[in-house]
Symmetry: C2
DNA sequence: TATTGTTATACTCTATAACTATA
DNA sequence: TATAGTTATAGAGTATAACAATA
């Protein structure tokens, strides 16, 4: 019985959540095809395209708490997709690099992921997609400005 | 170091997820003010505005799996916000009703939630908000059409 | 037989405190 | 003393199988 949730549909945040949930249901099987999850895929993407970055910086870029990031990196390392190398200038830190296998897997996976992602926005014009991304950026900025107590 | 996640920013699904995460970080404290979580707030909203609906129908409307919905309803009942009444025509089923307390709490909570939700979209015009909601609806439809094998 | 609500279970993501080894 | 990575732990959301009572 759709319509029961009408009282919630005035909330953009509710629509965002429902949309995100649908989108992830569609994308998760694609990640799984390559033995990945959303978080490991995202990490692999950042490491492949930004070689040598420190573990903490990658976690920060993905807005993943460092403690939670440890197992993600560990999983990718155990799968032979990335390697941890002690940073030359700081023995506490790890620099992350993708292995050849990791780069090959990412190359295939990213094509499949992008394809599925495009299916999700099929029917929208380039201008509508642009407008969507802009609106999402506004929401992110408005969310942050409460935490940071910026000039909002 | 923002910018490390550039390879992911081409994905609308990634932007959706990051936006949803920010939005929920902003909204969760509002739910918490009223002793609620996102899921219990959503359930209370549907029950208040659709009295007498069956538990399973409410779960379906919110896209929550029935097993997971049991504890949500149980929590609201324990808090005295809703009541379960055996359906007159089906002894297996429960009809859900909000208590007076539940209605009062929802009245206050929904105002606060809507206010915070509006803050999130501050700066967007009515047309832009409309366009955002439309774009989200397209994504939901595109997600479903793969499952349902509709004419997509 | 099928359905409603339930229990049990497991997996993912998220969040925080406290530790270690370096700086 | 501060930071990078780690461990431990807990909470929340999500997903599936199997059961009892009822249809």
């Amino acid at each position: 019985m759709p319509g029961l949730d009408n009282p919630l549909r005035v909330l953009t945040s509710y629509r965002l959540r429902r949309t995100m949930s649908s989108a992830m249901s569609s994308l998760n099987p694609v990640f799984a095809e390559f033995g990945l999850r959303r978080t490991t895929y995202a990490t692999l993407a950042v490491v492949v395209e930004n070689p040598g970055q420190r573990q903490g910086k990658v976690a920060e870029a993905l807005a993943i708490e460092r403690p939670n990031f440890v197992q993600i990196v560990g999983e990718l390392e155990k799968s032979g997709l990335i390697s941890r190398q002690t940073a030359a200038d700081d023995k506490r830190a790890y620099a992350l690099h993708a292995t050849a296998h990791g780069e090959q897997l990412y190359s295939k996976a990213s094509r499949a992921v992008r394809e599925r992602d495009l299916e999700l926005i099929r029917g929208l014009t380039a201008a509508q997609i642009e407008a969507l991304h802009s609106a999402l950026a506004v929401i992110v900025a408005n969310s942050k400005c409460r935490e940071v107590q910026d000039d909002c």
